[in-house]
């Protein structure tokens, strides 16, 4: 039944076209979101830079007396991991890349007897991890694509107090860095204790040259205590914004690929459909010619 095949193909083409419209719309939305997320990232930078500058000064002043608030713990036995993924899928490997990194980290910690707690942002995290038998202690959802500073504060409120109370030795952050529009990578870095400014990239540029000493009110050690939660929430906010920009970029890329793929599919299906239609016409002509031929033979033999 050649006509039937043609109808089935026509319907498939229509459904692929409809899907293509959706993926193209999502692509356009993601594109506009990237620009917005990048803008927010740029606006947040001065605050973080300012805090990093204060941290550098305070760390210099306290020297080696920073206690457990500064530096890299030598042998952390209890680690809290904050991980950032998206609330929604349809963004290529964005979520899976972060989640796989976390899963590896948890398994590695498990084999060396390091106790790991997880705090997750994004709807996609708990389901993935729980399915693999990894417990998530606290999870936040609903703001991965447009994080506000208040959201960063609530995440910090889950991650910082256990560290200050001495329940964990180290707080790690696993998230996607937005290096540029073309390059985003999953990175695992230490959130707490605060990074030693002498280490890489804590400040960007060194403290400005000056005469005399900086006065601290209150004294540097106490100030460092105040700085820890502020710095952590600013760092989490920065990471959330970078993750959001990365998420939109990943989604834009995935949706562009899906739109292209739909285009290809429509092309192939149209070709098959046209061939089917032509086959049907050819068959029909053959039948007519055959019928006419048979009739003529009847007339001639009569």
């Amino acid at each position: 039944m050649p006509g039937g095949q043609e109808r089935v193909l026509r319907r498939r083409i229509r459904s692929v076209r409809a899907t293509q419209k959706i993926t193209r719309a999502m692509e356009l939305i993601a594109t506009s979101q990237i620009a917005r997320a990048q803008g927010r990232l740029a606006v947040a930078a001065p605050y973080q830079r300012g805090l990093a500058g204060i941290l550098a000064e305070a760390a210099k002043d306290v020297g080696t007396h920073g206690g457990h608030l500064l530096g890299v713990p030598e042998d952390p036995r209890r680690v809290l991991v904050v991980l950032l993924v998206a609330d929604r899928g349809l963004c290529g490997g964005y979520n899976a890349n972060v989640l796989r990194t976390v899963e590896r980290l948890v398994r590695a910690n498990g084999s060396t007897g390091v106790e790991t707690r997880l705090v997750s942002v994004g709807r996609k995290a708990p389901s993935y991890l729980r399915f693999r038998g990894i417990q998530v202690d606290e999870s936040f959802i609903g703001f991965s694509d447009r994080p506000a500073f208040a959201d960063a504060r609530s995440v910090a409120a889950a991650a910082v107090p256990p560290f200050l109370a001495g329940d964990v030795d180290q707080v790690l952050l696993v998230s996607t860095r937005f290096l540029s529009a073309g390059s985003q990578v999953v990175e695992q870095r230490q959130l707490l204790p605060l990074p030693e400014p002498s280490g890489e990239g804590a400040t960007g540029e060194g403290p400005a040259p000056r005469e005399g000493y900086v006065e601290f009110e209150p004294e540097a050690r106490e100030l460092l205590g105040d700085l820890v939660p502020r710095y952590a929430e600013a760092a989490i906010f920065g990471a959330l914004l970078e993750a959001a920009a990365s998420e939109h970029t990943a989604r834009q890329r995935a949706m562009a690929a899906a739109t292209d793929n739909a285009e290809e599919l429509v092309k192939n299906l149209s070709r098959i459909m046209n061939r089917a239609r032509q086959d049907a016409i050819t068959t029909e002509i053959m039948e007519i010619v055959g019928g006419a031929e048979a009739l003529r033979r009847d007339v001639e033999s009569a």
Partner: protein
Amino acid sequence: MAFTATVVTPERILVEAEVSAVNLRTADGEAAFLPGHTPVIGSVVAGLVRLEQADGTELRLAVHGGFVHVENDRVELLAPVAERSDEIDVARAQRAAEAAEARIAELRGAEAGDRDLADAEAALRRAQDRLAVAGG
């Protein structure tokens, strides 16, 4: 003599102005920064910050904690949350203050967790700070 004061929050740069003096409260008490001040890093107590601008007008801000960094004739105020007096919604702050008071009363009666009570008290303080700043 004027110098530059910036008030920076994570979501925007709230103020960048030429000022002749900055008045705020640090952990050690009231502080006024004038041009040529020695370098200071301090933690700021939530409440009113007054910027005396070079043109003689005064800018009033409500800041909710943060740090001040004075250096090379620049005052940088880093606050997680801050707003200008003309941005404060007085009616909303009033409502927030009342709601927080009601909540504190309720929590005291119920002997709830310290964390909830502390949250409510912080909310009340924030609302009161806003009202004080907006009130002129």
